[in-house]
């Protein structure tokens, strides 16, 4: 009888542990190999799991560019094979392997998760297939090696762009640093700390909050409030950013500690859910849909017309990945992976991107302008209003 009584508790504990490691599924579409004059692109973006909203935006950005160019890139017909990146490398790496082996993709575009991107890097290099990263921000992902190119950002780069500005804003008061406890959060804090301290700032303290298991930031916010900090720097994205900013407001930190962070803190659907709780939050980002340039206005209009939604930075990154591939195929000798990789090195500056002019630097990361944005109510809804340029 005793074993019978123990069984339910044991079963429940097992269920609890199994749930903790739940993963996403995968989804496949029709396959096909590239002919000689057409190019096969493997578009690997999340269609399930926590990054799905990013996947939706990025798919839209990519498709909008193709539509505007009659389905052609560099004058060649494009065949797109898609794969679900899922949440992490457990799904994303096999999905990427499948598009290069089974679907014979000539080039891979996408990848939201840095761990997935790092996981496919070697396999792509040995298959001689270039990767155009349209989101993943791990600092050492693109290092000048010939197969990896990036149209998004580096975690450290965005963070560093804020350093001088914050140091100037807080004067001689220290700043409290908070981030989600995973690689991107650590890189973000490291990048900010270096630039901030170089500009004469001091750090009051630092909290790395458990990633994916906590949605209550009160203990950490209270630590920041109890320190002698005059401002908070925070790295959060997605649902975590929604909870964090809302609690930053509810627990009164907003009253005396201005909040700075990379733009993911207030981007797209995240900002909608935060509502007026996000008012006054200042972020650094390489794009805002409110950026007032002719190129961006045209892009936003086309995007809104196509999808009845405002574009996000994620959409622009995928849009620009298509633009980069377009430019490369224009100058490329052929459609092999090696040809495309070589051509990506010769594309020069992209002058009509919605984010403003940018080019690949020698490490193949985007050389671009970061903007300081502040959340203000625009026509009754919160928006990331551009305050000026950083760096």
């Amino acid at each position: 009888m005793r074993t019978r009584r123990l069984a339910p508790a044991a079963l429940l504990s097992t269920a609890a542990l199994a749930l903790a490691g739940c993963g996403g599924g995968s989804l496949s579409e029709d396959s096909g190999g590239g002919g000689d004059d057409s190019v096969t692109v493997g578009l690997v973006l999340p269609a399930s799991g926590v990054y799905e909203p990013l996947g939706v935006d990025m798919t839209r950005g990519w498709e909008l560019y193709l539509e505007q160019n009659d389905g052609q890139l560099g004058g060649r017909d494009v065949e797109v094979v898609t794969a679900d990146e899922g949440e992490g490398p457990d799904v994303g790496v096999p999905a990427t392997t499948r598009v290069i082996t089974q679907d014979q993709a000539d080039v891979v575009v996408g990848i939201v998760n840095s761990a997935t991107a790092l996981g496919v890097k070697e396999g792509l290099a040995s298959s001689e297939v270039p990767l155009i990263v349209a989101n993943a921000g791990a600092d050492d992902l693109a290092d000048g090696g010939e197969w990896v190119w990036r149209t998004s950002f580096t975690n450290g780069g965005i963070a560093a762009s804020l350093g001088e500005q914050v140091a100037e804003d807080v004067g001689d008061e220290p700043v409290y640093l908070m981030a989600s406890d995973y690689a991107a959060g650590e890189e973000s804090i490291a990048g900010f700390r270096e630039a901030f301290e170089a500009a004469g700032g001091t750090v009051a303290g630092e909290s790395l909050t458990p990633f994916g298991t906590t949605s209550d930031y009160q203990p950490f916010l209270t630590r920041a409030q109890n320190s002698d900090a005059g401002a908070i720097y925070a790295f959060y994205a997605g649902a975590e950013a929604v909870s964090f900013v809302q609690q930053y407001r509810e627990f009164g930190a907003a009253e005396d500690l201005p909040l700075y962070g990379p733009g993911f803190l207030t981007e797209g659907g995240v900002l909608e859910a935060q509502g007026d709780a996000a008012e006054g939050v200042q972020t650094a980002m390489h794009y805002s849909n409110l950026l007032d340039t002719p190129e961006n206005t045209e892009f936003v209009d086309a995007y809104v017309e196509a999808y009845d939604a405002q574009p996000t930075t994620y959409a622009v990154q995928a849009y620009d990945a298509a633009a980069a591939l377009d430019a490369a195929l224009e100058v490329s000798d052929g459609t092999s992976g090696a040809d495309i990789a070589a051509a990506l090195g010769e594309v020069g500056e992209f002058s009509d991107s919605p984010r403003g002019p940018w080019s690949f630097d020698e490490e193949h990361n985007p050389e671009q302008t970061y903007f300081l944005r502040e959340v203000e109510m625009v026509d009754g809804a919160p928006g990331n209003v551009v305050q000026g340029e950083l760096n």
Binding site: M1, P8, L11, L12, A15, L19, P210, D216
Partner: protein
């Protein structure tokens, strides 16, 4: 002084979190402990409650609208609970129950994603409770304080009904010996339906009340189910007091524990669960009526 202040706020916040966890987990505990049904769709019920909040409660909604939405959520939960009870009543072994309810949970997650999209959504607190009050010199959200009060009331009602009324006596008797209860002319199916309905109603109600704190998003169902399972495992199956104690412990571990040991924050929850299982394998306060031999 700062140290004390900080930790008192964390303790208070732990009570608010515990209140929400209690509301959600007590249904899981009752259904499993008394009816021997493992309902892995319990987190989905709670997420349905949260999304009802997204759909029904506008920003600056009045308290009346919020209460109506809460009652509606409870009614929807009761109906869904009855449906789950009907589905699971013929199945006796845990593995098949788990597979069935997990399947229901997966379908529910996809339907909710289809209806509400995959962006995280916020549920607004009613306008009357939206602000913050000063507690120990720090602003604290009024809404969280109200949640504690609501949970205390519901917990007391549950306790009195189970321990002091005839209906409660029948439930306890069904747990102890279903065959004997049927022999004196009570249909145990009806009891099962009732307990499942109430448990599910509390889950959807808890989900809606948790909306302004936890929000509503895909994946929240499994997060909530996970926390509820931990609460039930820690507290002991089938007892209201166990669920309460489990929720209080998990609430404090997640706030005070994290505040004191921020470096170990990721491991605290399961560390606490493992410790309890080592010392008290049946949980801290298991139901005194827990059946010894399963169903007759």
């Amino acid at each position: 002084m700062g140290w004390l202040d900080a930790n008192l706020i964390s303790v208070l916040n732990g009570f608010a979190l515990a209140a929400l966890l209690f509301l959600i987990a007590v249904g899981l505990s009752l259904v499993f402990g008394t009816m021997d049904v493992l309902n892995l769709a319990h987190g989905s019920l709670s997420l349905i409650g949260a999304y009802l909040g997204v759909a029904l409660v506008d920003e600056d909604a009045s308290l009346g609208v919020f209460v109506l939405a809460a009652l509606l959520a409870a009614a929807v939960g009761a109906a869904l609970g009855a449906a789950l009870a009907a589905m699971t009543s013929a199945i006796n072994d845990h593995l098949r129950q788990a597979l069935l309810t997990l399947g229901v949970a997966l379908i529910a997650a996809d339907v909710l994603r289809e209806l509400f999209g995959s962006d995280p959504e916020r549920v607004s607190a009613p306008a009357a409770l939206a602000g913050s009050v000063d507690v120990l010199g720090r602003p604290y959200p009024v809404y969280r304080l109200s949640v504690v009060a609501v949970a205390v009331v519901i917990g007391l009602v549950l306790y009195v009904v189970l321990e002091r009324t005839q209906a409660g006596a029948i439930v306890r008797a069904t747990v102890a010996d279903r065959g004997m209860v049927e022999a004196i002319g009570i249909r145990s199916q009806v009891v099962l339906l009732g307990v499942f309905g109430v448990g599910a109603a509390l889950a959807t109600l808890g989900g809606l009340l948790a909306g302004p704190v936890l929000g509503a998003r895909p994946g929240l169902d499994s997060t909530v189910l996970l926390l509820a399972l931990v609460v039930v495992v820690v507290g002991g199956l089938g007892s209201v007091r166990g669920a309460l104690l489990g929720a209080l412990l998990v609430g404090q571990v997640q706030t005070l524990g994290v505040s004191l040991l921020p470096g170990q924050a990721s491991y605290l929850l399961f560390g606490a669960m493992a410790l309890v299982l080592l010392l008290r394998p049946r949980g801290l306060l298991p139901s005194p009526y827990a059946h010894a031999g399963g169903h007759a």
